[in-house]
């Protein structure tokens, strides 16, 4: 099992920490994540006042120059409103800076600010993603690309240079619970990220099954599944709750994530952290138990905690990363390796 963290570089919309302070702090968090042995760190693209990372590869590249082992990924790249050629070039640059540690996690995007910003029509929501994913996959290959589509000019025998260190550049498809997206990831034979923002893990298990069966249906080799979730670690479960849930609620209420649900409170968010839930907020032992439960029902190969949802103090995030890397991850990895019969716990991920 690989264990990592990700963030949207959240800032308070009214008052509080501004981006010129937050982004350097975030780099320090990634450096620490590398030092404490986390496997992967992700930054999510959003074009929204509460988040300060609309251009993740740029920030990840700064972190790449200061880290050695940790894999660096977007979480996610909104491929629907981007140009696949440019996405490939940017992640190639990240791969070159990081010497082969770059990954792109591509999705359709949950909030649609990027559609407005880049002038795309929501009626094309699915068609845009299908076409751009198809092109991105071809650009990863070694063959010159001749291609034609609806949403960008055609390509004639193009080879995008330079080439990345990794062949092919890892691309994961992020899905948010929509079975169709699961089928799409499987049809392309790409590894899948199962994004969760609530509910119980057992409700997501059928989607992981659907993915595995659909890979089979399309004659694709086995691929790893990654799960993303809202999670936080502090010295005690009480402290974790006190830090995480008020900010989580604030984000929900301001980012449009609530889909019209009025006035979410810290108590509402805390209720999402119950037994069996996807939320993993608590002491190291509480988070260990939760992650092991997730693995038992979903059988995934990578887990990524969205450590800072809403504006959280840098010091608390640093402590959470330290605890996740030094106390949670070793126990979870060892237990899962034991369950799987002493094999290397990361085997599945190498398959991409």
């Amino acid at each position: 099992m690989e264990i990592g963290a990700f963030t949207f570089a959240d800032i308070a919309v009214r008052g509080g920490v501004r981006p010129p302070q937050r982004i350097p702090e975030l780099i320090e968090e990634i450096v620490l994540a590398d030092e404490v042995g986390l496997d992967v760190f992700g930054i999510g693209e959003h074009h929204h006042p509460g988040f300060s990372a609309p251009a993740p590869p740029v920030i990840l590249a700064a972190a790449a120059a200061r880290t050695h082992r940790i894999r660096l990924t977007s979480a996610v790249t909104v491929l629907s409103s981007d140009d696949p050629v440019r996405v490939f070039e940017q992640f190639t640059a990240l791969d070159l800076v990081s010497q082969g540690r770059a990954e792109a996690m591509v999705g359709r995007g949950a909030l649609l600010d990027s559609f407005r910003l880049f002038g795309h029509d929501l009626q094309d929501y699915d068609a845009l993603f299908d076409e751009k994913l198809d092109l991105l996959i071809r650009l990863r290959g070694d063959e010159p690309v001749t291609w034609q589509g609806r949403f960008r000019p055609p390509l004639d025998e193009e080879v995008i240079l330079p080439r990345p260190v990794q062949t092919p550049l890892p691309v994961w498809v992020a899905v948010g619970g929509s079975p169709n997206s699961v089928i799409r990831a499987a049809a392309h034979g790409l590894p899948m990220v199962l994004g969760t923002v609530g509910g119980v893990a057992a409700q997501f298990a059928p989607l992981a099954d659907l993915y595995r069966q659909a890979l089979d249906h399309y004659d694709k080799p086995a691929q790893p599944v990654s799960m993303t979730l809202h999670g936080f670690v502090a010295d005690t479960s009480q402290k974790a709750a006190d830090v995480y849930f008020p900010a989580d609620a604030e984000l929900f209420n301001t980012a449009g994530a609530s889909r019209g649900i009025a006035g979410m409170t810290a108590e509402h968010m805390a209720a999402k952290n119950g037994p069996g839930s996807t939320y993993a907020v608590g002491s190291p032992q509480a988070v260990i138990d939760k992650l092991l439960h997730h693995h038992e029902v979903i059988g995934h190969q990578r887990t990524m905690l969205q450590l800072a949802v809403g504006p959280l103090p840098h010091a608390d995030i640093m402590r959470a990363i330290e605890l996740l890397g030094t106390e949670v991850a070793p126990v979870v990895r060892a237990e899962i390796a034991r369950r799987e019969g002493g094999g290397d716990s990361a085997t599945g991920v190498g398959a991409r």
Binding site: L210, R259, G260
Partner: protein, 222 residues
């Protein structure tokens, strides 16, 4: 239709909410058919794993196998559905208009009318529309379902203009695990929409009715 067919519900959409309703309806002993914009074989790939027992059909065929048809597609795709096939059917609108995910849809954006009124206008005149299930998350549709008579069961608002259709769907809501509470006509179904205190609130019937009456007394005539 045969007795079995009368207990069949058709669902447009095999997404998050369509799958949740399909599972609940199967559990409650309904026959369930599902269609997406793709061919039946592709929908079958999904239903085989996620909702074994559900029949995947082509969209054009769905209404012919079910007297009750649930619309569980994104609102922006409503007009792609074979709406003319819904003549004479009871149609259940579980859809919401929420700009951060739907984008701006001009007919719905003014909010002068409840979104279900606009949906009804797009249907054949003989289709009878009922709004429900829209104000609960898809996880909750399964997690909070309880058998009839359970203390603390969650209420679902049911709105519609045809009393027979409302009664049929109230029974459907009850069968699927929730206490139906009638909230009035489609014109008044703003109370179930995003932004209303009833939306996403998961209340027991008494609290739901109380919140509903507070809303009604606050309402200023337009």
């Amino acid at each position: 239709m045969t007795a079995l067919a009368e207990r069949t519900v058709g669902i447009f959409g095999a997404g998050k909410s369509g799958v949740a309703i399909a599972r609940r309806a199967l559990d409650a002993g309904y026959g369930v058919a599902v269609a997406t914009s793709g061919p039946a074989w592709r929908t079958d790939l999904v239903t085989r794993v996620l909702t074994p027992g559900v029949r995947a059909v082509d969209a054009a065929e769905l209404a012919s196998v079910a007297p009750i048809v649930v619309l569980a597609v994104p609102l922006r795709r409503l007009r792609e559905l074979p709406l003319s096939t819904l003549a004479g059917r009871i149609v259940v609108d579980i859809m919401n208009y929420w700009e951060p995910t739907d984008g701006v849809l001009p007919d719905f954006a003014s909010r002068a009318h409840a979104s279900s009124l606009i949906v009804r206008a797009a249907l054949p005149a003989s289709a009878r529309l009922v709004k429900t299930f829209n104000h609960i998350g898809y996880h909750e549709m399964e997690q909070l379902a309880r058998p009839s008579g359970t203390v603390g069961r969650v209420a679902l608002g049911v709105a519609g203009d045809d009393l027979d259709a409302v009664a049929t769907i109230a029974r459907f809501v009850d069968d699927l695990g929730f206490d139906p509470v009638s909230t009035g006509t489609l014109a008044d179904s703003h109370c179930l929409q995003p932004g209303s205190p009833l939306f996403g609130a998961d209340m027991e019937p008494a609290a739901f009715r109380e919140a509903l009456s507070q809303l009604a007394s606050r309402e200023v005539p337009a």
